[in-house]
Symmetry: C2
Subunit: 195 residues, 2 copies
């Protein structure tokens, strides 16, 4: 009985955001990818069916005017939908079951050649750096257009930045440790970089 579905609440949340402008599935997908991609992902195969279900439950409501030109269905959140959203938001956030493949491969490092591990870490480093840059760019963007964005998005961006930076630093240290191990130095313990 897998964890209960979160997609409905992502949709309700986004439709409830500033202005409460009705949005189509396509637009929701774009917002997810562009704005909250550093902590959330959704696929179309999930969005469209949920959209229909939410409409059937009257938590969202398809826009009356059929939007001349393209065939787009924009949905708006209903009062009932807002109630459901708020109830969910008030509940304790479920903690994701940890599953970090990079760490796992590192843990089994004795079965691998060190340069391979260093490669994995470098790839992770690059990805984290890209993510960090994106968060920082967003941060200045949000800082400028404070009218458009909620102050809460700054909180979440800070999370992305803090975690990315920590991860980056750890990757650097780990690469250094692995290089030492490789060059014969029997380093049994990574240098304690803590204060």
């Amino acid at each position: 009985m897998a964890r209960t579905q979160r997609t409905p609440f992502v949709i309700l949340g986004l439709l409830g955001l500033s202005g409460r402008e009705p949005r189509s599935g396509y637009e929701i997908k774009k917002v997810v990818d562009n704005i909250i991609s550093h902590f959330w992902a959704e696929s179309n195969g999930q969005i469209y069916p949920v959209l229909k279900r939410l409409a059937a439950q009257e938590l969202i409501c398809p826009e009356a005017r059929p939007a001349k030109g393209r065939k787009t269905i924009r949905y708006a959140i209903t009062p009932k939908g807002q109630v459901a959203l708020r109830a969910w938001l008030a509940g304790p956030p479920e903690v994701a079951r940890p599953r970090d493949e990079l760490i796992l491969k590192l843990f089994f490092g004795s079965e691998t050649e060190i340069p391979v591990l260093i490669g994995h870490l470098q790839a992770h480093h690059a990805a984290a750096e890209a993510g960090l840059a994106k968060c920082k760019a967003w941060q200045t963007e949000v800082g400028k257009l404070q009218a458009k964005y909620s102050p809460f998005s700054l909180l979440t961006l800070r999370a992305g930045i803090a975690l990315s930076e920590a991860s980056l630093k750890w990757a650097d240290e780990s690469i250094a440790t692995l290089r030492q191990m490789e060059s014969g130095g029997k380093v049994q313990r990574p240098p304690s970089a803590q204060k």
Copy 2:
């Protein structure tokens, strides 16, 4: 066609670890829960079927002697299994699709009362602190028994510690920011705590 299953490789990896002592499903589950729980989780409903499949593929091999007393089936990794494990370890680690429910609820914070958000953050803080303590305890344990543990486990513990600490610090700052917002201060931006 969901992401390919990682459980087989967790099992192969653990069976391939120091000593290559054969282990039962029950023991594997305990090792996962006790030693790598800060970055990986497995359920019995996954372990036992995979164990059978791996045995059928001859990547692992059930122990000959039936272990008098209890009915336990211990498996050892085969040479073929080691090849499979190494091939997987050498491949690029897949990055998990991000899905952080705490951050999501924070992002939709305008639909919630601030004290509720603070509660979420405090719960997260407590959990992160517990995780951090566990990693640190393990770190000293591994440091003492260096013969028993690989130096790679120190690398992964450092990851757990670094990430927990960053998360903890972020949570503290966020709680402070929310308190300011609550007490009327129109704080539009969290205090930039970066150097």
